[in-house]
């Protein structure tokens, strides 16, 4: 980023000129951010403090303070339940996706025939995963592990467990393939990180007598600390933004419902956003702690 060797306009220094040209390139994004993200976000927050009724001419607001929030948290029987379910399911899915995509990436990092074919298979879901498609597949029972989820033994076993344990397990069994289907981009990111690791470290370790097992735990995993973090964050966001997400669907339904309305849906959106940030912070803290320990 060197300064321009000559300044054509007098009065403006090269640094200022460079900055102005830079702003020219990003200006449209800044305006877009204000128009399509910041203002709507503030407006949604404003709606969340109001009772909003849509009429033919416009919208009518009546200020209700935090009533929509207290209603979502303390009166609405489904919302909090869905929110907790979402948090648990996300926390169950993230480690599975991380481990699964790392294993697949380690496999694909080896040299063997038909590698391209397998890579194509494991990336395929990224291309076809959309809300309605997943909904159809789930409805037809195509996303559960064949033969396990529906067996009577499993059902009896689940009935014995307390609900806070049986719900995640049931989710795991019925949506296992679905969870794996969210690993496509993650596999690619792991793969490219694996390929960036210097091969000579492994050779040196092998000469020192380290087994492949040892070099995985002591070399590969520590160098993937940042990647783990990126992938965990990406996964949480991908799961939370998915249009078949129960909370998203519920909020969307409430937007047009008679007893719900825009104000109420906005309040729930912000509560949902808070939980999402909470999950991100939690996972970030855990993985960052892990990464620091690896380095130390």
């Amino acid at each position: 980023m060197t300064a321009h060797p000559k300044t054509r306009r007098k009065g403006i220094g090269p640094r200022v000129r460079e900055a102005l040209h830079g702003y020219a390139f990003v200006l449209i994004w800044i305006i877009g951010f204000a128009v399509f993200t910041l203002i709507p976000l503030l407006q949604t927050f404003f709606y969340s403090l109001n009772q909003v009724t849509v009429s033919a001419t416009g919208i009518d607001l009546s200020f209700v303070q935090w009533e929509n929030y207290t209603r979502a948290l303390f009166t609405d029987p489904t919302f909090v339940e869905l929110l907790i379910e979402y948090a648990i399911e996300t926390l169950v899915s993230v480690p599975i996706i991380l481990i699964f995509s790392l294993i697949i990436a380690l496999f694909l990092n080896l040299n063997f025939r038909f590698k391209g074919l397998f890579r194509t298979i494991f990336f395929l879901p990224v291309v076809i995963t959309s809300g309605p498609v997943i909904q159809e597949l789930t409805a037809q029972g195509a996303t559960s592990v064949p033969g396990i989820a529906i067996s009577a033994t499993v059902e009896e076993f689940l009935a014995e467990l307390p609900s806070y344990l049986s719900n995640p397990i049931e989710y795991l069994l019925t949506s296992f393939i679905l969870i794996l289907w969210f690993s496509g981009v993650q596999i690619l990111i792991y793969l490219s990180s694996l390929q960036k690791i210097d091969r000579s470290i492994y050779e040196a370790a092998a000469i020192d007598g380290a087994s492949a097992w040892e070099s995985f735990w002591k070399l590969t995993l520590p160098s993937l600390a940042t990647t783990n973090l990126v992938i965990a964050v990406y996964t949480i966001i991908a799961l939370s933004h998915f249009s078949e997400n129960k909370v998203v669907k519920y909020i969307y339904g409430q937007t047009y419902a008679v007893e719900g309305g825009i104000g109420y849906a906005s309040a729930m959106s912000f509560l949902y956003f808070l939980v999402l940030i909470g999950l991100l912070v939690l996972v970030y803290a855990v993985l960052n702690f892990q990464a620091k320990r690896e380095v130390a």
């Binding site: 060797p5 830079g22 390139f25 877009g32 919208i59 291309v127 990126v230 956003f273």
Partner: protein, 310 residues
């Protein structure tokens, strides 16, 4: 020659040595990959097989994986229910057009961030990340109301306007892709052009842009796929105006019963899972075709663009 085969060579042939993996190891790898691959593809296989089953086959518990006859009746029905030619055209329109625009704009922004020093860049990066994290439902209602005021609901502009302003669907990823791309391109040519008196815009179009063609292709492909599959925004912004394939699929039951009223048609023409899954398959078919034609770009994208997020 025979005496050359000692226990050591057999052992290394099976278990591998420092330079190559053994046969046993590779067999295990293949078996695992095939098993996982099968589980992975199970929903698709299930969908395809079920969609080829005739009503008799569906009721016959003996028919699991291989239908007794080649039956395309489900597809003919699903084709009609989905209003395929129209919804397909709409889907292509609402996915390709915003992606091309979004890619061009994001490349602009990424170039500005990568090539110029200016105050507030870190803030902009933080905001870009924020746009990635903020859920759509936190911003979509005011947008929808504004569009309604301008009469843009159901119009493709509702998707194009955010894309033009760099706020398209998942735009943060594309800005980062271009940021990485332009950061890694050598600056020598640009500086030479600048010495020759070329303007900044000219430098971008004539020197930076051609060097970043792979990133453009990848961005357009990914953006197209994501716009195609996106239903949350399209339902809110386009409902009543443009009907895309996934939108039509999500109300398949309703559309089916309009065409084949349940009380009127005979039992074999009632809606069954085979017809539904034919519809689902028709829905992803264009994406599958695109994927297998362009798969090199998909799977090599992360390596090519160097985006790993650091």
């Amino acid at each position: 020659m025979v005496r050359g085969i000692t226990r050591e060579t057999i052992k290394s042939f099976l278990l591998g040595n420092r330079t190559s993996h053994g046969l046993l190891f590779m067999v295990v790898v293949y078996l695992l990959l095939i098993a996982i691959g099968f589980v992975y593809l199970y929903p698709l296989l299930f969908m395809f097989v079920t969609s080829m089953k005739s009503p008799e086959d569906l009721l016959n518990p003996m028919v699991q994986w291989i239908p007794t006859e080649f039956y395309v009746g489900n597809y003919l029905k699903a084709f009609r229910v989905l209003d395929y030619p129209n919804t397909l055209r709409a889907s292509i329109l609402i996915s390709v057009l915003p992606s091309v625009i979004q890619t061009v704009v994001c490349s602009f922004v990424g170039y500005g961030l990568a090539r110029y020093r200016f105050w507030g860049k870190n803030l902009i990066f933080a905001l870009i990340l924020a746009t990635f994290i903020i859920p759509a439902q936190n911003t979509v209602i005011p947008q929808m109301l504004t569009y309604r005021d301008f009469g843009l609901l159901g119009n493709i502009s509702a998707l194009l306007l955010p894309a033009i302003m760099g706020q398209g669907y998942k735009s943060a990823i594309f800005i980062l892709i271009f940021y990485q791309t332009f950061l890694s391109l050598p600056k020598v040519l640009e500086e030479a052009a600048r010495l020759d008196g070329a303007s900044d815009l000219k430098i971008f179009i004539q020197i930076a842009l051609p060097a970043a063609i792979p990133s453009y292709i990848i961005s357009i492909i990914f953006s197209t796929v994501w716009y195609w599959n996106e239903t949350f925004l399209t339902v809110i912004f386009l409902e009543g105006g443009i009907q895309s394939l996934p939108m039509q699929l999500s109300k398949f039951v309703q559309a089916y019963e309009n065409l084949y009223p349940p009380g009127v048609v005979n039992i074999f023409d009632r809606l069954n899972e085979a017809v539904k899954l034919s519809g689902t398959f028709l829905n992803i078919l264009p994406l599958l075709v695109m994927y297998f034609v362009l798969q090199k770009w998909f799977v090599e994208s992360v390596e090519r663009t160097g985006i790993t997020g650091e």
